[in-house]
């Protein structure tokens, strides 16, 4: 299966949820999507299309909280970034950890470092600063003028 047919199938399936598609090169694609579609998108990528979840990267920008979910299709070396933008004041999104364990730790880490709330996470405890960091202070949050 080549990259074009994968992307076309994906676009046909989630046409209404896609906000922007950037194809950097033949192996790197960034698709910005509505955040409420994440469960459906991840289910399709993981269960039907055979993608592997690498990790997610969250960052704080002027737009709000952004998460890049990195999925890899190893047979063709493709990295597909599913990019979502969450609300500035109340960042929250559905957890993927009930589908695969690979996202369990990183969601805990994003919750801990940026204060993003993952709904229905099986165990959203702190991962790296248990017992030695103040509540409600998020090290990777930034201040914008």
């Amino acid at each position: 299966m080549n990259i074009e047919s994968i992307i076309e199938k994906f676009k046909a399936k989630f046409n209404s949820d896609i906000l922007e598609t950037v194809m950097k090169n033949q192996k790197r694609i960034i698709i910005t999507m509505r955040s409420d579609s994440i469960i459906n998108v991840a289910t399709y990528l993981f269960k039907t299309a055979g993608f592997r979840f690498i990790i997610a990267s969250a960052l704080h920008t002027k737009k709000g909280f952004e998460i890049h979910y990195h999925f890899s299709k190893d047979s063709i070396g493709l990295i597909l970034n599913i990019h979502v933008i969450l609300d500035k004041d109340n960042p929250q999104i559905e957890s993927l950890s009930n589908m695969f364990n690979a996202s369990n730790w990183i969601e805990r880490e994003m919750h801990e470092l940026l204060g993003i709330n993952f709904l229905n996470h099986p165990n959203q405890e702190k991962l790296i600063s248990e017992g030695n960091w103040a509540e409600g202070i998020y090290p990777l949050r930034k201040e914008f003028k």
Binding site: K24, A58, H68, H70, S72, D74, S75, G77, F100, N101
Partner: protein, 397 residues
């Protein structure tokens, strides 16, 4: 309700000499549950990276791992070069791959030694680490450092491998090949090692997919993923080699994959040395003026699996966000599958089988019975327990 005993391994691992804390909840000798704690000495490298320039970050990410110190700069270089759309010269590609593969050899030898030590085979430990030394000497010859080589930069490498050094590298590789034969023979044919590692700490294909495990851990369970093949970078598309896999998913399969991978690494380095000979006139680096705005997803196959770096640039000289995922981050989570239901003695080697890399320092802990508060076992006693089991098997086989 049955009574569970808490046995901690850590916070400072007695053998791997790295910080981690595994809490094994046991009933009798059987592990019933496992919990993991980390972050005692969180270094905040991702945050630090935002305040450094792209040139400086190479030195920073090199210090994430003390063993495979080159794998993070490798992935970071791939990410930044993707943002700036840089194609490096062939000579630089060959040098990068040589460094990457030499590192794989010394890292795998280190693991074989540690695994031997875990099982009570101190001879394997002494041998493997002795054979590893010449590889570190090679690094010193090439880069000036036995570890943390500072070889990479955006657009190429910092130091050349001159012709005069090539015969020395070849000689060491020849020696290593013979020693690997010896080690492979010793490990693969030993009935006690078979008894201690076969059928122990099994991860199925489904577990690997579920946890997103990578590297030799995944390949030992029949999942043939290797970034060098799937998403080729540096000189890997220019040379011939094959991905080593095994089906069983147990500790023995992981050892087998690592030992056989060393032969592939030796072959890759040999081909890269020939490539260097053809590219004599090539520059080792190209000039890079600025890193434009954009997003880079860089990855590299470290000895332990896929290293992933996400870099977002706003066109200034430091990144807006730099996310790092080391392979152990996903591999360590699989312990929930590989250790539960086993004896404590087997859990020790199962925990070591993914070649975890914890980094930093943690505090001291001892095991107490949860109800009575009586001290139960310390780290040495835990290792002695594993050694006792091997000795028992030696007597009976």
């Amino acid at each position: 309700m049955s009574k569970k005993t808490l046995i901690p391994i850590g916070p400072y691992h007695p053998l791997q000499e790295e910080p981690e804390l595994f809490k094994l909840y046991c009933e009798g000798e059987i592990v019933k549950d496992i919990k993991w704690e980390t972050g005692y000495n969180h270094r905040g490298i991702e945050k630090l990276s935002e305040s450094k320039t792209y040139e400086q970050i190479f030195f920073l990410v090199e210090r994430i791992c003390g063993i495979c110190s080159n794998s993070h700069p490798f992935a970071f270089a791939n990410a930044v070069e993707e943002i700036a759309d840089i194609e490096i010269t062939n000579r630089a590609k060959y040098i990068r791959s040589i460094i990457g593969e030499l590192e794989r050899i010394h890292s795998h030898l280190l693991w074989v030694g540690l695994a031997g030590h875990f099982l009570g085979y101190n001879t394997v430990f002494m041998w493997a680490w002795k054979y590893r030394e010449p590889v570190l000497d090679l690094f010193e010859m090439i880069s000036g450092n036995r570890n943390s080589y500072a070889m990479f930069k955006v657009g190429g490498v910092r130091r050349d491998i001159e012709d005069i050094k090539v015969p020395v590298i070849r000689k060491v590789l020849d020696d290593i090949k013979k020693k690997t034969d010896l080690l492979t023979g010793a490990v693969m044919d030993d009935p006690v090692i078979h008894a201690r590692t076969k059928g122990v700490g099994i991860l199925t294909k489904q577990d690997i997919i579920d946890y997103g495990a990578v590297g030799p851990t995944a390949r030992a369970s029949g999942v043939a993923i290797d970034v060098r093949k799937d998403d080729p970078y540096a000189a890997y598309p220019l040379v011939n080699w094959k991905v080593i896999t095994a089906e069983a998913g147990d500790v023995f399969a992981k050892a087998e994959v690592r030992l056989l991978e060393m032969y592939e690494s030796i072959s890759i380095i040999e081909q890269c040395l020939q490539g260097l000979n053809k590219e004599k006139e090539g520059d080792i680096a190209i000039k890079v003026k600025e890193i434009p705005e954009g997003i880079g997803n860089g990855r590299a196959e470290a000895p332990r699996g896929e290293v992933f770096h996400f870099v977002q640039s706003d066109g200034s000289n430091s990144p807006v966000r730099h996310k790092i995922r080391a392979p152990s981050y996903v591999n360590i989570a699989t312990f929930k599958k590989s250790c539960i239901g086993q004896t404590i003695a087997d859990a020790t080697i199962s925990l070591a089988a993914v070649d975890p890399c914890y980094c930093c320092t943690e505090r001291m802990a001892v095991a107490y019975d949860l109800e009575s508060g009586i001290k139960l076992m310390n780290a040495n006693e835990l290792i002695n327990e594993s050694v006792r089991r091997t000795n028992e098997l030696k007597k009976t086989s």
